[in-house]
Structures are given as C-alpha cells and as structure tokens.
C-alpha cells in the first residue's frame, strides 16, 4: 500500500469510530430504509412523481418557516416543509381534477413554481441582517452531517412506526394497491389505507430532505423499489430488498460525503442507489435487459436448429450423419455455424451422438411432428 492509501484508510477508520459520524450514518441509513419501504408502495401505486412534487415544494416551506419564526431548528423547518408540501399536493390534485390540464402538466407547474419561490426566498433570506442562510441551503442537496441526535431519534421512531405498520397491515396494503375496487368490495376501509400510505410517503420525504435534499429526494424514494422489482416477484421480498438497498445507499453516501469536506450527502447517496439501479436493470435474471437479449439470441438459435432438424427428419428420418447435416446446412445457409447448431441440439437433448451418427430423440420427434404438414391447406 502506498503512503497516501494508508492515510486514507486511517481517515476512514477514524471516521467510522467517530461518534458524530455514527449518529449521522445511522440516521441516513434509517432514512434509506424507510425510503425503500414507502417508495415500494408509491411506485406500485404509480405515484412515483408525487414524492418529487412534495420534496421540491418543501423548499418554499423551509424558507417560509424560517421567515415567520426566525428559528432554524429542524423541527420547525420540517413542519414548514410538510405543510407547504401538503398544500402543493392538494393544489395539484384539485387543479388537475377541475381544470382541463392533465395531471402531469399541473404537477410540473405547481412543483417548479413552489421550488422557484423557495429559491427566491432563500436569496432574500441571505440579505437579511441575521443571515446565516448557509444553514437553510443544506435542504437543497442535503447534508447529513447537520443532523443532530434528536433528529436521528425522530427518524428512528418514524422508521419503527412504518415497519410496524407495514407488518401489521401487509395483506391489506397488498390488496389495496393491487386492486382498489376489489378491496372496497370486500369492505376494507380504502380511504384509511390510502391515507396511511400517503402519510408514509410524506413523512419519508420530509425527513429525507435533511439527508438527500429536495432536489434529489425522489430518486432515493423510487430507485430502491424499482431496483428491487428487478430481482423478485414477491411483494414481501420487494419491500425488504428495497429497504436494504436504500439503507446501503444512505450509509455509503454518508461515508463518501463525510470523507470529503463540504460535499453534500444527497448526490453521494443518489449516486450509489443509481448505480445499483442501473446494474439491476441490466443484469437481473428474468427482467434485465442483458438477460432478455440473451434469451432472444437463444430463441433464434433454437428455431434455426429446429428448422434444420425438421428438414433432416423429413429426408433422413431419425438417423443421419454429419455429412447429411452438412449438406442441408449448406443449402439452408443459416447465420449459424454447423458446430453451433449441433451443440444446441445436443444441449437440448434433441439429438444424441452415437459413434458417427446422430440419433433424433423421441421427445424431439414428438415436439416437431406438430410442424409436419399432413394435408395441403386450401390456398387462393
């Protein structure tokens, strides 16, 4: 190890041992966990962007709370953020219901207006006599290091409440999100369930902006759930995995940003979860893009091999030599080499090699016989 690498390791270790860092890391980790949980339900309900509108609008709430009370304590600012976030959401739902503009346009307009207002107010605050607006700026991109142990305690309490709620009402939430009408028909209190799930998202966003900031909060809300969805098709595992991925990102992001002076935590956290997300989208078996490409190639190869086998069956019946194969392969001129095709057929147990001949297996004959035309259909 080089000298500077050793120094970095030491820095890291001393960081990990530092009590302040530990407190802050626990807070961010817990935030990541509840983001994963709340985000799972938000994305399944197709409400991914609502979290974004709450968080962007919250900036104005933070600024207004400071202007009105002069207090920079977290509780006051977050209450302001929450109130304005809820007002914005209410505006969005009402405006889109009663005007001709569609939901997404209304959401974009309201969200950016409140956010713009928030930025304006932050600048105004900067010019106030008792300024120290740097304190409020942390809500833009998040700074976990500014979290006090009381803030982290609040986060942990909310996290426990959310986890308990989801465990208790798991099957009701599952049904409600999957098929609201049916849930209502069974007599479930759909209004209450809706309220609880929405409150979870609001709480998560408002608490989360301390660590991730208003601009990037929605990324932490939805990315863990989307990534988790790639790996499982059970709701319980999805929520669990999303929580774990969110927690890892929260922890890792805090580690990175604490090692570099003045580096906001939000981008660091989101960087980690975005990497996780991209990898999940690419390589997850069953849903990953790369996996799907491989399946397609496999399917094409299978079809090409089957077609050649069909020809061989018709001409040579169930036994043929390599030369027979080569002859037909030449005339078909497919995109694959003879070796590829033979290997494919052997792997799928369609043919077996016995000395110098290939024997077509019963199972393959059965499968392919459906393709042998028995009668000529009527044609125009």
């Amino acid at each position: 190890m080089t000298c500077s690498a050793v120094k970095q390791m030491n820095n890291l270790l001393s960081l990990l041992g530092d009590y302040t860092f530990q407190v802050v890391a626990v807070g961010s980790c817990a935030l990541g966990i509840i983001s994963g949980i709340s985000g799972s339900f938000a994305t399944l309900r197709q409400q991914s962007l609502l979290g974004d509108s709450i968080s962007h609008s919250a900036l104005a709430g933070v600024a207004i709370a400071f202007i009105l009370t002069g207090s920079k304590t977290t509780e006051v600012l977050l209450i302001g953020a929450g109130i304005v976030g809820l007002i914005a959401t209410y505006l969005i739902t009402q405006l889109s219901r009663f005007s001709k503009a569609n939901f997404e346009s209304v959401m974009a307009v309201v969200m950016s207006s409140f956010f713009g207002l928030g930025l304006m107010l932050l600048t105004y605050i900067q010019h106030l006599p008792n300024a120290n607006q740097a304190g409020l700026n942390r809500f833009l991109f998040g700074q976990a290091a500014t979290m006090l142990s009381t803030d982290v305690l609040l986060i942990l309490i909310v996290a426990v409440l959310i986890i308990l709620t989801v465990c208790l009402f798991f099957k009701e939430f599952k049904l409600f999100v999957f098929d609201r009408d049916f849930a209502s028909d069974l007599g479930l209190p759909t209004g209450l369930l809706n309220f609880i799930l929405s409150t979870m998202v609001v709480l998560t966003v408002i608490l989360g902006i301390q660590s991730v900031g208003v601009v990037l909060m929605s990324a932490l809300l939805i990315s863990p759930a989307i990534a988790a969805r790639q790996w499982t098709h059970h709701l319980s595992s999805l929520i669990g995995l999303a929580a774990i991925l969110g927690g890892i990102s929260g922890l890792g992001g805090t580690l990175i940003s604490s090692s570099i002076t003045n580096f906001p935590t939000g981008p660091a956290i989101v960087l980690i979860i975005s990497l996780i997300l991209i990898v999940s989208l690419l390589i997850a078996p069953g849903r990953g893009i790369i996996w799907q490409r491989q399946q397609l190639h496999r399917a094409k190869l299978n079809v090409a091999a089957d077609m050649i086998l069909l020809h061989l069956l018709e001409v040579h019946k169930s036994t043929f030599s390599a030369a027979d194969f080569a002859a037909i392969h030449a005339s078909q001129a497919p995109l694959y080499s003879m070796d590829q095709l033979v290997k494919n057929l052997q792997e799928r147990h369609s043919i077996e090699k016995q000395e110098s001949l290939f024997i077509v297996q019963e199972s393959a004959i059965q499968e392919l016989s459906g393709h042998l035309k028995k009668e000529e259909p009527d044609n125009a």
Binding site: L44, L168, E172, F178, D179, D181, D185, L188, L235
Partner: protein, 250 residues
C-alpha cells in the same frame, strides 16, 4: 328472509354531467338464477353493476339485497368480478396470492391465511383449471387465464351473490367453457349469478333470466319470455326516446 329476489333496484339514475348514463332503472334479479345484463355499448351495463356495488354514487334511487343469512354484512355476501383490464398485471404477486386475496374478509385483520384458506384456494384453482399455475407470476398469464384467476378469487369469498362484468369477453374457447360450466354449477348450488354479457348468440344456452337496458330499462324477466326479437331490437336500436312524450325519435 325468503323473498325470491336477490337484488332489488328502484328508481336508479346515474349521471356524471347533464347526460344520464342510467335513467330511472327499476329492476329485480331473482335468487338462484343465472342472469344476463344486456345492452349496446354505452348502455350503462357496467355502471349499473358498479352502482349496485356502491362503487358509483347514483343521483337518485336505491339498491337492496336479500340474503339467506340475515344480518349479513353485505360485503361478505356479494362478490364482484371486474373486467381484468382494471388491474396492474406487473404487480409482484403469484396466482395463489391473488386468489387468497378473496379470503381476506374471512381472515380478518392482522392474521395470516390459514391452512383451510390455502386449501380452499388451491381447490378453487383446480375448479377453474389453473391449479398448475398457482406459483406463476400473474404477468405471465394470458387474458383468459387472468379471467379465470379473478373468478377463482371471487369463488373463495363463498358469497351468495356474484356480479361479473363481461367475464367471457375476449377469452378463448377453453376458458369460456370452463367459466360457463362453473357459473351453472354455482347457480345449481343456490348462488345468484349476475353477468354483464356481450354475446347475444349464447344468451339462450347460458342464462335463465335477462335484464335488457339502454340507459333506461327496456325489458327483464326469463329468457324464454323476454329475450325476443322485438326486445332485442328495442334495446339495441339507435332510437332515443323523447322523455316527455314517450315517442321514439330517429
């Protein structure tokens, strides 16, 4: 209660804006019968059953149920099978998960499905010919298979009245046979089955009673007496009726 009507609809009117979707509907549906609700597109058939189920608030009118079990919570005795398009099929759930959802009102809060619930779910899946698919992701099902899963989900509710929105629309022949045989055996067990149906050609073979509507009530009763050429014409024609004079417009 020994009334022979399972559902009684009186003066039901549903309107979203100035144009009514359902107008002054008076109709009764008999217990223990297979009833078809017929009408052209936009006639209000789906609206009618949604209003019966309380999913839509009417402008006026009322809906009453008669159950064999007195004092029943009506949610437990009425099962609804919607059109399968209304659901997100990429939701992470297996066929068995979805069918078990039908048992939630029996299971109650905070508890998990019991062995009896799971056995019933598997047995019902077998009835609809989907037992082999119980662990399969619902996103991998065909349209007909989705419909059968929804049917199984409603069967495990063990309800008295079943209301279904076009269960046979766009399904393959095999599914259609399975479903209609199942509906008939449910009727034979004394359940009341009400179906919004789209295919006039099969009404005589499948159903006991019909309700024919086109925004207004046109005719209802047994298939033999009411499913006539004239009534079909009246229901499906593009006539509108002048509300004041009662005469047909063109």
């Amino acid at each position: 209660m020994n009334e022979k009507n399972a559902i009684i609809v009186e003066d039901l009117t549903v309107a979203y804006s100035l144009k009514p979707v359902l107008w002054d509907i008076d109709v009764t549906m008999r217990k223990g019968k297979l009833t078809a609700i017929l009408g052209p597109n936009g006639a209000g058939k789906s609206t009618l059953i949604k209003a019966i189920l309380g999913l839509i608030k009417p402008v006026s009118g009322s809906v009453r149920f008669n159950f064999d079990h007195t004092g029943s919570d009506w949610h437990k005795e009425v099962a609804y099978v919607p059109q399968s398009g209304s659901v997100d099929w990429d939701f992470p759930a297996t066929v068995k998960d979805v069918v078990l959802m039908g048992r939630y009102s029996h299971i109650g809060w905070f508890k998990r499905p019991s062995k009896h619930d799971i056995d019933l779910a598997m047995h019902t899946l077998d009835l609809v010919g989907m037992a082999d698919f119980s662990s399969r992701q619902i996103s991998q099902l065909s349209g007909g298979q989705q419909q059968r899963v929804f049917l199984a989900r409603s069967l495990v509710q063990e309800a008295e009245i079943y209301i279904m929105d076009e269960p046979l629309k766009g399904v393959d022949k095999q599914t259609e046979k399975i479903v209609i045989d199942l509906l008939k055996s449910m009727r034979d067990q004394g359940k009341s089955v009400i179906v919004v149906h789209h295919d006039l050609a099969t009404v005589k073979d499948y159903f006991d009673d019909v309700v024919m509507i086109n925004v207004e009530h046109v005719a209802s009763g047994t298939v033999s007496s009411v499913f006539t050429e004239k009534n079909i014409d009246l229901t499906f024609q593009r006539h509108s009726y002048d509300l004041l004079s009662g005469e047909a417009n063109e």
